[in-house]
Every structure is written in structure tokens, then in C-alpha cells.
Amino acid sequence: MKIQIDIFTGFLSSGKTSLINKMLKHSAYSKEKIVLIQCEFGEEKITNDIVNNKNIYIEKVPKDKNINKEYIKKVIEEYSPDRVIIEQNGMSNLEELLDILSHRDIRKHCIIDNIINIIDCRQFRMLMGIIGSNIVSQILYSDVIVLNYGNKVSTDEIKSLKKEIRNINKSGKIITMERPEDFLLYLEYDYKKPSNKNITDKLSLVVLILITFYLFDNIFRVIDLSEYISKFQVLNTVFMSILMEAFPFLLLGVFISSIIQLFITKEVIVKYFPQNNILSFFIAIIGGLFFPVCDCAIVPVTSSLVKKGVPLHIAVAFMLSAPIVNPIVIVSTYYAFGPVVAFTRVGLGIMIAVITGIIFLIFPEEKEVLVGGISNYSCNCAYCNGYSAKEGKLLKISSVFKHAGEEFFNVGKYLIIGAFITATVQVFIPKSIFTQITESEIISVLIMMLLAFLFSVCSSSDAFIARSFSNQFPMSSIMGFMVLGAMADIKNLLMLSEGFSKRFIIKLLFIVWNITFSILCLYQTII
């Protein structure tokens, strides 16, 4: 049996020692030989009956020393315990400790059982502002997050804390408690739980995948007969083709976004970003020219800009205009329609972007637009937290890639769902349905806008698609397709929901849709 390691993290006086006291007295551990490594000494002391217990040894790490590989090895050799409990200093980095513990020499003998993070509800927000990144990584890796002193704050506060923590840690257990005794209830519950539950969980997943595979294989065998399967095959082809077009741009987007995350600090943005609104709108629009990325790439870039403190209205203007003013899009529009249309598209796009930005400036969002509130201002992923302290160039480059990868999975998930919805729409709703209802120009503008929204064509190639409609629809509706499609479609909205609140997304969609429609009606009367 390997040596079990439990790690307790949390800021000073959050209640770590009390919990350890309770835990050590629990019957579940009475038979084990335990070493407690304390790195922090608060007001609460380990109680005497524990100190006198023959099976429990206490090691104290002096303040100026850190735990390292040799130290852990020494402890293991000296005591050869069943369990090691590490009470970590709230200020030190959990990731470093985990790195030490995952070293080969230690991994041979030990296994991490539980990581428990204890949070004092009253202090959480204050601490988040000061040592946020440290807390984020503690929460991120924990199996159990204990919200201590739950009775000292309001229930609403607890709710919002839970939400924020859940945003960082998707699967850990969050428990609220009022007194250290409550932890016993949890231990009780946890101890009774069959210990191999997690393994069966994963086994069942494997079985599930195998069954799915088997089913598909079977379905595949009867494919010649089934019309539905061939429909599905088409659906899958269309779905994959969307991913093939979108993934390269999404990758570009997450690379740019992680470079912003890691190399541009909030201070730089605050210092160099112009306070003048007109100038900053101008920058937002010109900025698009230097981001040769399509609409799917712009979403992660925008949310990282907002996280770094760029004002929301500017970020919105940037997000809406960039997919239209970017060089690839201009060239493809020019190629499909000629200079006048390309120029008009850019002009209308900028107009809509700026007006939407101004609306957000006049009616600012009162609530937090980023999901996860404060914790989101620093990036949640561990890559830019722990390592940013060490100023190694190589490490930075490696974090850019890891961060990009992490973000690719976060946003890509929504892209895949969006692509699937869009592919379904494209396969099952024939385009001819839309082309048949072209009674008045106003209605056809709306239809083309709806089409753009549903079909989510990448803005770098939508000009060519629009071209194939050009003989059935008047120019104003073609414009609607090209302008709205680049700004707001299913794919983008889903991707936005990764970082932004639903309220904000709905408001944005509503405003963009209305402004686009009004401007196009105006455009219609002019031409």
C-alpha cells in the first residue's frame, strides 16, 4: 500500500488546524500511522491528546524553509507512515508542492489522497484581490473546498461564492460549514462511500464509449438501406467541414489571446490605453486591420482584452468590427463582388460596431459581464498563475502554448456545439425555403439576416456564399447577410457564453440585430 498524502491549504486562520484536529480524532484514522507536516502555525494548536498519540508524529517546517523533495523523502524514510498530512502555508504555491510530489522518486511510494482547501467566507473576496492567483490555483486542484464560517455571511453571499468557486473548479466537492465539528459529518459520509467508486465511474465511461462504438459499427453495416443514416453522414460531413474551416482561426485566436494574457499586464493597458473615447473607438476599429482573423477567433481575444481591463464598450466595438475590417475578409468580398460592395460592407460594419459601442458606453452594464466575477480578472488556468512569477523566457513560451491549449478546449467545446447546430440547420432546412419567400425587400433583409445567424458561415468566406444568393435577393439583404453574419451568429454566441454572462450576450444580440436592421433599411432607401 502506498503512503497516502492529504494536503490542507487555506489562508491563515481559515481553520486548517481545527479541521486537522477533528480529522485526526476520527475513527477512520485511528489505525494509521500518520505524520503531520505543519508549515504554518496559527492561533489554533494541535491538541495535546493528538500530540501524545503514539501513532501520530508532528513535523514542523520552519518559516524560512520550504518543503522539497529531499525533505519529503527524509520524512518517509524516518517514519514509514501510512499517511502524511501536509498543512500548507496559505501564501505558498500549491502547484510547486504538487510538482514536488509528482516527482518520480516520491510517486513510487506515495499517492495524493485528498487536497482540501479551506476558505474563510468573510475573507474570500478581500484575499482574492490580493493573492488571487494563489487562491485560484488552490481551488483549482482541490477535491474538497470547505467554506468555513458559513453562518457569518448572508446566504446570498454563500450562493455567489459557490458559483465563483464552481467556475474555477468544475468537479470538486464544495461544503459549507459553521463549526469545525461539521467536518466530521463530511468525513463520516466520505468514509462510508465505497472506495472504488471513482474507478467504476471511469470504467463505465469506457464501457459506454465501447458500446457507442459498437452501435455505430452496427449502424454503419446497414447504412445502404437507411436513408436517415445517409442524411446523418451528410450532416457529419457538413459539421466537419465547418470545424475544418473554423479550427485554424480559433487556434490563431487562442494564441493571440494567450499572448495578451501572459505578456500584457493590466497596468500597461490602463497606462497606454487612451482615456479619450473617440480615440479609443478609432483604435478599436483600426485594431481589426491588424488581426487577420475571422469571427471565431475574435471571441477569445475579446474576452482576454476585457479581462485585462479594456473598457467593455471598446471591446464590443472591436469584437464587432474586426471580423469585417480584417484584410482577408475585405479581399474575399472584393473578389466576390467588386470594390463598391466591399467598401460598403466595411463602412456599414464599422457604423454598426461603433453605434453598438456607443450604446454600451451610454448605458453601461451594471452587473458583472464576465462569468465568474473577480476571479476572472486573473486568468483561471493554472498556467498563467503559478508560473508567471518565475520570469523564465522558456517557461513563458511553454505557458503560452499550454494556455492556448486550455483555452482551445474551453472555447472549442462551444464551437463544436455551435457547428453541430448549424450543420443540422443546413442539412435539414433546404435553402430554397428561404429563397422562396422574397415578397418585399424589408422581409428579405430579415430573412437574409436570419439565414446568416443560423448558418454561421465563417466571415472569411461568407462573401462567396452571399454571391450565390445575389441573383435571388436585392443588394440590401445580401449586405444584411454579410454584415450580421460576421458579427453575431449561433457559433459566436455560444462561444461568447464561455466567458460572458447570458444577460450581456442577449443584450448584445438584441442591440446588434436592431441596429443592423435599421441601418440596412436606411441603406435600402439610399440606393
Partner: protein, 286 residues
């Protein structure tokens, strides 16, 4: 407390690497086997290569973490979203929208899809005419029309060079296909009686007359979602014996006739021979 995560390998990182390498190998596989043409326009291929390289680099950086014992408490379901489509795409070969609409109509099972196909048929012919901005232009208001015409002229100049007529025979190949479709549909009557040689796949369904079929090529504007068939109506006594979706080289004479209330070129067949599917099945107008 319960013992858990006794794995030597970090499952989450493993799933990430599988997804990344899965996508890059899928992209590589479709490019290598040229199946990519069923999915996207060739202009996307360089971007896909960029994606392949990026995926590999990212997974290399992730691989360092493979042996970190602790995972970051993300849900495994997230990666299922990535991996399931991959497995399906590896198993299911790509299929275009058009070939299903034909094959499902083969036995004329339901009327709905048949009607769809006729609509498609008419639509495709209309759109061809439309894409030329021919006489239909007068419907569209003046200003846009003039834009389009000037733009079209420049395109036409380039395409004119492709239109070769040898010994009164029009030879239509991949490069000149679209130009000839434009030319023949636009100048009603001009090529009456000319001989024509064309390679294409055979399209028809229950709604066609016994002696009719369409020799068509599939047009891809951007990706699999917008595939459209384009071609000519043919007359052939033994049309009913032809196999749908097979490829054929057709020789015949062009005639102009009114079909569904519209004057259009049709080919009276003189000779038909089966040929292999060409390497590039699709045509790319842009």
C-alpha cells in the same frame, strides 16, 4: 477518506492529447487521401496544415504534464465532445448533400424529397443564369446591376480565353466547365447545332422523362454545406439504363428548347462511354 485517482497517468491530460492528436491526424488523413475535397475548398488546406502543426505543438507541451498526478478537476465530459465527433468522422466516410438527394430518390420513395430535387434542378439552372448577370439583371435595380456588370466583364475577359471551339465541336473540361455553362445559357441560340464533348456525373430521378438525364458537376463555393450541381439536360433513348452517380463522357449536339417555360440548351446524345471518377470531383467557381 477514500483512495482515488490511483493512476500513474493524468487522465485529463491524456484525453486532451488524444483530442489534439486525433484532430491533427484526421486533418492529415483527409488531406493525404484527398478526401478533403469532400469537405472544404482547397484554399482552406493551408490553414488546416497550420492547425495540424499547432495541435501537435500544443500536445507536445501538454505531454510534459502527463505524469503529473493531479488533474485540475475539469469534467471528463468536455473531452467527450471532442472525441466522439472524431471517432464518427473516422468511421463514416464523407458524403455530399447532392448525391444523397439523388440516391434517396432512386426508388422514388417519398414525394417530398422528389419535389425538393426538382426545385434543386430548376434552382441550379436559374442560379447559373443568374450568376452570369444576363438579361435577368434588369430586374435588379440599376445601380447594383451596373456594379455587377462591370465586375462581370472583367471576369468574362479572363474566361473567354478558355472557350475553345475546334471543328465545330465544343470541348468542355474542368477548367472551362463554368465558362461554358455561362456561355451556353447566356447566348440562347448561338451554339445551336454545335457538337459538344463533356465529362460529368449522371443525375436523374423519378421525375425525369424516360429519355432524360442531367450531366452535371458539383460546384463547391466554400465547403460541403453549399454544394450545388450544375449541368446540362441530355436526351438519350436509353437514359433509363444509365446508372445514377456514375461518371460518363458524353458526345452530342446542342439544341435550344423550352423546358419548364424557359429556353435553355440541351444535349441530344450521340455517344456515351463510362469513365472513371476524375481526381478532382468538384469544381470551384471562386
Amino acid at each position: 477518506m477514500s483512495a482515488k485517482k490511483i493512476y500513474r497517468i493524468n487522465i485529463e491530460v491524456l484525453l486532451k492529447i488524444i483530442s489534439l492528436l486525433g484532430f491533427s491526424s484526421f486533418f492529415y488523413y483527409v488531406i493525404r487521401t484527398n478526401k478533403v475535397q469532400y469537405y472544404v475548398h482547397p484554399r482552406v488546406i493551408p490553414y488546416m496544415k497550420f492547425a495540424i502543426v499547432s495541435f501537435i505543438i500544443i500536445s507536445l507541451f501538454f505531454s510534459k504534464e502527463l505524469f503529473k498526478v493531479r488533474s485540475k478537476n475539469n469534467k471528463v465530459v468536455n473531452y467527450v465532445i471532442f472525441i466522439v465527433p472524431l471517432i464518427i468522422s473516422f468511421v463514416l466516410p464523407p458524403k455530399t448533400m447532392v448525391s444523397t438527394s439523388v440516391s434517396t430518390n432512386n426508388g422514388s420513395k417519398d414525394n417530398v424529397s422528389e419535389n425538393n430535387f426538382i426545385e434543386d434542378k430548376v434552382y441550379l439552372e436559374e442560379s447559373n443564369i443568374g450568376s452570369l448577370e444576363t438579361e435577368q439583371n434588369d430586374i435588379i435595380d440599376d445601380e447594383t446591376a451596373s456594379d455587377n456588370v462591370t465586375e462581370y466583364e472583367s471576369v468574362k475577359e479572363q474566361e473567354d480565353s478558355k472557350l475553345t471551339v475546334r471543328d465545330n465541336t465544343i470541348i468542355i473540361n474542368d477548367d472551362s466547365f463554368m465558362a461554358w455553362v455561362d456561355e451556353l445559357f447566356m447566348n440562347i441560340g448561338k451554339y445551336e447545332g454545335h457538337k459538344v464533348e463533356i465529362v460529368g456525373s449522371i443525375l436523374k430521378d423519378g421525375t425525369f422523362k424516360q429519355n432524360e438525364f442531367i450531366v452535371a458537376r458539383l460546384l463547391m463555393v466554400c465547403c460541403a454545406a453549399d454544394m450545388q450541381p450544375v449541368g446540362f439536360l441530355c436526351r438519350y433513348d436509353k437514359a433509363s439504363e444509365l446508372e445514377v452517380d456514375s461518371w460518363a463522357k458524353i458526345k452530342g449536339v446542342i439544341k435550344y428548347e423550352e423546358v419548364n417555360g424557359e429556353e435553355m440548351p440541351i444535349i441530344e446524345l450521340e455517344n456515351i462511354e463510362n469513365v472513371d471518377k476524375p481526381e478532382n470531383e468538384f469544381l470551384y467557381p471562386y
